[in-house]
């Protein structure tokens, strides 16, 4: 008789989700589904609010990456004002966005995934956490804590508070950067860079141990999408969107982000609240693409800072084509952290960064605004329509995790086929299925705009739908 395995809740992710594995009579995995089981409804309850409240409201989508939402939302509001914000304001937002990238990547890599990488996929579940890691590998855990603190501290110094700062506003930012604050950040950078380099050095040697995982952790051809600047280099705040195929061919080089709806469609499936965005010209699911650190490093010409560029070259040298296994998201995350730290230093070292003119003011000049930026997990899109008084009449948020949804589902199926045979499955095997999801660092609370801690469940189900086995943690 066929069976279904349920992993519920899936742990060490942000948000709440569940995995269902469908087995046939022979115990072979036939299908895998990743369910995001909660809905929050931000797009709906924002209707009627003045547009300039949107950065503050949508930042509440997430406590991990409120800054990403602040940035995308503020950019959408800039579009409604139809202003070009002062260049220094754009650079200050850039710094904030990069600091957010560092703290979020540190959370994903050190707190959520490194227990698997350092303690082993088969370690006892109660030991696979940051506290046990601190005991077993104190220096790596300390670097992780320090890096997360660095990112959060930069946000706090610049914007007043670590979580939900109100500093980024339509038209620019609220307050110019003082020299004192600038220096406070600059002095922290060398230690952060050193910690990232140490981690990269260790990871490069450790990665060989995971060749089996690399083989089956969402290792398949898809498109990749991410932001680039006008030189084709990695960009996180403002630029074009580029789409490449799995061979590395640029199939769309300079897409205008504001016209995302022309080339990104959003499919829905009955088993999850998370949508399935796809690249329209190739349809659904043929137009499945991945976003985030791996995608960005696969499609950019390079990073544009010396240390990160060196790491990027080594990284890309692992394959003549784009790296296809999602396991490589981990290393990509570390390289991006290095790039972000270097870029913050470069931006803050520019004299112009202390300019006092940091905000453009205007009233409603356009009834529609789109804001697109790279969040830690990938491309984040905020799109608002307003009435002539600036009250929101329609909102659409396309979240980084959503872009990866189809690839995550396929990745779970691939790993489950490899690791799960019959319903007598070892915990460590199911952990690998979860670990595939963790490589994407999904933020489920953002992606459905759902709340909660993120425990995730795996279910084994029979063809008639009856539950055979459930693995629940959280």
């Amino acid at each position: 008789m066929s069976r279904t395995i349920v992993i519920d809740p899936v742990t060490r992710l942000e948000g709440h989700g569940k995995i269902t594995l469908q087995l046939d009579d022979a115990g072979v995995v036939q299908d895998a589904m990743f369910h995001v089981t909660q809905l929050r409804g931000f797009e709906k309850f924002c209707e009627g609010r003045p547009f300039y409240e949107m950065p503050n409201i949508t930042a509440r989508v997430c406590g991990i990456c409120p800054v990403s939402h602040l940035i995308a939302s503020s950019k959408a509001c800039d579009g409604i004002l139809a202003v070009k914000i002062p260049p220094v304001a754009a650079n200050l937002r850039r710094v904030l966005n990069l600091a957010q990238l560092i703290q979020s990547h540190a959370l994903s890599f050190f707190y959520l995934s490194s227990p698997d990488l350092l303690l082993g996929m088969d370690a006892a579940p109660e030991e696979r956490n940051i506290l046990h890691l601190a005991h077993a590998h104190p220096s790596i855990a300390a670097d992780g804590v320090a890096l997360r603190q660095f990112g959060q501290r930069v946000i706090e110094v610049m914007a007043g508070q670590r979580i939900h700062p109100g500093w980024t506003v339509p038209g620019g930012v609220n307050e110019a950067l003082s020299q004192e604050k600038r220096d406070q950040i600059l002095v922290m950078i060398p230690a952060a860079v050193a910690a990232i380099q140490r981690t990269l050095e260790w990871f490069r040697t450790a990665v060989d141990k995971f060749s089996a995982e690399i083989e089956v952790f969402a290792n398949f051809p898809t498109l990749f999408m991410g932001m680039i600047d006008d030189r084709g280099l990695a960009e996180y705040y403002d630029g074009y969107l580029r789409v490449i195929d799995s061979e590395g061919n640029i199939i769309a080089g300079e897409l205008e982000p504001a016209r995302y709806a022309e080339y990104i469609g959003e499919a829905t499936e009955p088993f999850t609240y998370m949508k399935f965005p796809y690249y329209r010209p190739l349809g659904y699911p043929g137009g499945t693409y991945r976003v985030g650190p791996l995608a960005r490093l696969n499609l950019a010409g390079r990073c544009d800072t010396p240390l990160a560029d060196e790491e990027w070259r080594r990284f890309r040298a692992m394959s003549p084509r784009p790296l296809l296994s999602s396991f490589h998201y981990h290393q990509a995350r570390l390289i991006e952290m290095l790039h972000a730290a270097e870029k913050i230093e470069r931006l803050l070292s520019d004299k112009g960064i202390l300019d006092k003119h940091v905000r453009a003011t205007a009233s409603v000049n356009s009834l529609e605004g789109v804001g697109v930026a790279e969040a830690p997990r990938g491309t984040l899109i905020h799109h608002y329509k307003v009435d002539e008084n600036g009250l929101i009449v329609w909102a659409n948020l396309v979240i980084a995790t959503g872009h990866n949804n189809a690839a995550m589902n396929r990745g779970i199926l691939q790993a489950a086929r490899h690791y799960v045979h019959g319903d007598a499955v070892k915990e460590g095997m199911l952990n690998r299925v979860e670990a595939v999801v963790r490589t994407f660092d999904p933020c489920l609370s953002c992606s459905t705009h759902a709340m909660g801690q993120m425990p995730l469940t795996i279910e084994l189900r029979a063809p008639d739908g009856s539950l055979v086995r459930e693995v629940r943690r959280g």
């Binding site: 609010r49 409240e53 503050n56 939900h164 009233s363």
Partner: protein, 240 residues
């Protein structure tokens, strides 16, 4: 009448106090640094006794009296803080929070809101009453200002400052009880009001985020009602 006959002696919280006969308990208390919480009261405007946060006990009175509209009397014994008064004030505050949609975290007045400050000061930890979640409109038709009825506590400071200080009488109140709304002219959109001078006094005196300057969303939205007493003194000086 002699100056002496104009003076009343009374006790507030067992402190002997003398006050002018035309003073209210609130004025007498504040002159002597005795704290009574208020919300609808604002120095420079007439009193309406609407919010009931300044309720005090007066010996011999059968019910609590609002300090802002109760005149001092000879021999009065006033208590400003007791378990009963605290309970009433808590209840009044909870009613304010439950009646409309006060979501501090995303409010333009967060950190500068008198209602929020009062909740902190009076130690309000939660609201026991069911929230009403009324669906109330936001009028953003004025080029500079917005009124969000979701955050209005009906203190009528805007109505009073507009009539008493600016003299425009743009603001008024329509409806009854919790359904009341502050309105501009005969409920025209604010941006179409022919009487509004766009002086912004109503915004500065509003204790919450109900009236606010557009494009000020963020952390820097402190209001400055302190202009009022000065403005009144200057105007009275001119008239003399």
């Amino acid at each position: 009448m002699s100056a002496e006959a104009n003076i009343r002696t009374l006790t507030i919280d067992e402190v002997d106090i003398s006050a002018r006969a035309d003073e209210t308990i609130l004025e007498a208390a504040r002159e002597h640094n005795i704290d009574i919480p208020t919300l609808c009261h604002l120095e420079g405007l007439s009193e309406v006794g609407a919010c009931r946060l300044c309720l005090v006990e007066v010996k011999g009175a059968r019910r609590l009296l609002p300090a802002c509209v109760t005149r001092v009397e000879e021999g009065m014994e006033v208590t400003t803080h007791s378990a009963k008064i605290d309970r009433y004030r808590q209840m009044v505050l909870e009613l304010f929070f439950a009646e409309r949609n006060h979501v501090c975290s995303v409010c333009v007045a967060n950190g500068h809101c008198e209602l929020q400050s009062l909740a902190l000061r009076l130690g309000m930890t939660h609201v026991e009453l069911p929230y009403q979640y009324p669906q109330l409109p936001v009028d953003a038709s004025h080029p500079r200002f917005t009124v969000d009825h979701n955050r209005c506590v009906l203190c009528t400071r805007c109505v009073r400052v507009c009539g008493e200080v600016e003299g425009a009488n743009t603001w008024g109140v329509m409806g009854r009880g919790a359904q009341s709304l502050v309105i501009t002219d005969l409920k025209e959109p604010w941006g179409e009001s022919e009487t509004c001078t766009s002086c912004g006094k109503c915004v500065q005196v509003c204790p919450t985020g109900a009236l606010f300057e557009k494009n000020r969303a963020g952390t820097k939205t402190a209001k400055h009602p302190e202009f009022l007493p000065y403005l009144r003194i200057m105007r009275e000086g001119e008239q003399r």
